[in-house]
């Protein structure tokens, strides 16, 4: 599989994915969150065979399905998937959060909640982030653990 990424100034980013069969999929992620998809058959450069527009939410659901993550509609609102009694949770650090500029080690992780990774836009995923790593605005914490522990962590995070 070949993936090519280009910036579309003022619009967003464009990913061109060429799959084994030679067909191509073009995905444009708009700055507004909208996604545009185009499908080109092998050998056809000019005219897409099909086109599709998705909202941000639809695109995320599709992404979860494609990634093989079981999707549970009851968790609408949060990006969350469930593995028995354990949950995965993606928690963003928005700009202006009191945690921007502080260390990973300072995060109030209760027993039973584990920080798996730090997802920083424009950087490779940081698995198992070291305690001295600094949090930046736009980071997303990837956590796993029991639902209670994760909820407790989210409450603690809100308090700063």
């Amino acid at each position: 599989m070949k993936v090519e990424e280009v910036v579309l100034p003022g619009v967003g980013r464009k990913f061109t994915i060429e799959v084994q069969s030679g067909d191509r999929l073009v995905v444009v992620v708009h700055n507004s969150g909208k996604r545009e998809l185009q499908y080109y058959e092998k050998g056809e450069d000019d005219e897409p065979t099909a086109a599709l527009d998705l909202t941000d939410e639809e695109a995320r659901e599709l992404g979860a399905i494609l990634a093989g993550v079981l999707f549970h509609p009851e968790a609408v609102g949060d990006t969350r998937s469930k593995l028995g009694a354990q949950v995965f949770e993606w928690i963003p650090i928005p700009p202006g959060s009191p945690w921007v500029g502080r260390r990973v080690g300072e995060l109030p992780l209760p027993p039973g909640a584990h920080l798996l990774a730090l997802d920083r836009p424009g950087a490779p995923l940081i698995p198992n982030p070291p305690p001295e790593a600094l949090l930046e605005a736009g980071d997303t914490l990837v956590l796993a653990g029991s639902r209670e522990a994760i909820e407790a962590f989210k409450r603690g995070l809100g308090k700063g």
Partner: protein
């Protein structure tokens, strides 16, 4: 109540009406704002609307700087760069055309800039509104626009002042770019901790302040706003500011285009044939260059035609250049700029909207002889 509220209410209502009408037809609203200004300009107290139109214009250039700054150059693909080179040929050809129209060298350079610059603001909006972002030609067109905006910003800084003002404005541009380069990275972390309101106010005061500073030094205020955008992008504020300023900018830009339409009325009543000739030639000059550029970028026949049509609309920078030309004593160039903007935005919007039909019209009769030749 302040009288400006009444003017604003009428203007916003008229613009909303116009936008609603074209929205049903699947058209972008920008040309309608211009036409609304032309239609009602005489009866509308446009002066009372200030500073919203001026602010809209500065924010427009600010967001062009934000999205089309020098850091985008590195992200450009080779094909966009090749297309940009062909496109840039419009500058020397524009200078020749300017000399042919009887302008001196400075006037010809201004004229060339007016011919060369396509409007990234208008084109980006058209590409998004018409769902063309994923098409192959959009990547090339947007890459070409990055190069154009940087070249025109440099041209504006270069032509902005005369004598001492010229060196001052060049120094100022250099200072801003160095600021972005060296002060940017250490400030990124700090800006992340600021709240949205603070960033909004800081951004607004920085943009308008820079515009005032450039203006005070005899340079173009548009360059000041553009450079503010470039700096904000280097501070890692691109997405945030785009998000925060978007709605304010759109409101201001709508009013700005209406005011431009209103002020164009006087010019249209006594059009100089030379200016019409210049605008028409300027509009035609870029088409073959962009077709050739599309070919260099590896686009197919059809996508080449699309790319050429996409680059028809002229807008923000052409008006800036026109205003500068007027200030420096080249009313002809100012008239050309105004004609170009007034004609090319509605015309470009129609051409882009109906690009598939235009292509079929162009290609229909040509296809048959091509096949015959192939058989021979």
């Amino acid at each position: 109540m302040h009288p400006s509220v009444e003017a604003f209410a009428i203007a916003a209502g008229l613009l909303a009406l116009g936008a609603a009408l074209v929205h049903r037809l699947g058209f972008p609203p920008l040309p309608v704002y211009l036409l609304t200004g032309l239609l009602v300009g005489e009866r509308l107290p446009t002066e009372a609307l200030e500073p919203l139109p001026s602010l809209g214009f500065l924010l427009l250039l600010f967001s062009v700087g934000l999205e089309f700054g020098p850091d985008r150059l590195q992200a450009l693909s080779g094909k966009a760069i090749r297309a940009g080179l062909w496109d840039a040929l419009a500058l020397p050809l524009g200078v020749l055309l300017g000399l042919f129209l009887g302008l001196d060298l400075r006037g010809s350079l201004l004229f060339a800039g007016v011919v060369y610059a396509s409007s990234s603001a208008v084109i980006v909006k058209l590409i998004i509104d018409l769902h063309r972002a994923a098409n192959p030609e959009s990547e090339v067109v947007l890459g070409v626009l990055v190069r154009e905006d940087l070249v025109v910003a440099l041209l504006l800084a270069f032509l902005g002042g005369q004598g001492a003002g010229f060196f001052l404005s060049l120094l100022l541009v250099l200072a801003y770019l160095l600021l972005a380069r060296y002060l940017g990275p250490p400030l990124v972390q700090f800006m992340g901790t600021l709240s949205d309101e603070l960033v909004l106010l800081l951004g607004a005061s920085f943009t308008t302040g820079s515009a005032l500073l450039f203006h005070a030094l005899g340079a173009s205020e548009g360059v000041g706003a553009f450079l503010s955008g470039v700096i904000a992008a280097s501070l890692g504020l691109r997405e945030r500011l785009e998000h925060l300023f978007g709605p304010i900018r759109d409101l201001g830009v709508a009013l700005f285009f209406m005011v431009v339409g209103a002020s164009a009325l006087a010019l249209l009543q006594e059009p100089s044939p030379l200016a019409i000739l210049g605008a028409a030639l300027g509009l035609l000059l870029k088409l073959p260059l962009n077709l050739q550029g599309g070919k260099a970028a590896g686009l197919g026949r059809k996508r080449r035609v699309y790319a050429g049509l996409y680059l028809v609309p002229r807008g923000e920078f052409n008006l800036v250049l026109g205003l500068l030309a007027l200030k420096q004593g080249y009313p002809l160039v100012a008239q050309v700029a105004l004609f170009l903007v007034l004609v090319s935005i509605p015309l470009g919007a129609v051409l882009i909207r109906f690009a598939p039909e235009v292509y079929r019209l162009l290609e229909g009769p040509r296809e048959k002889p091509a096949k015959l030749e192939a058989r021979r």
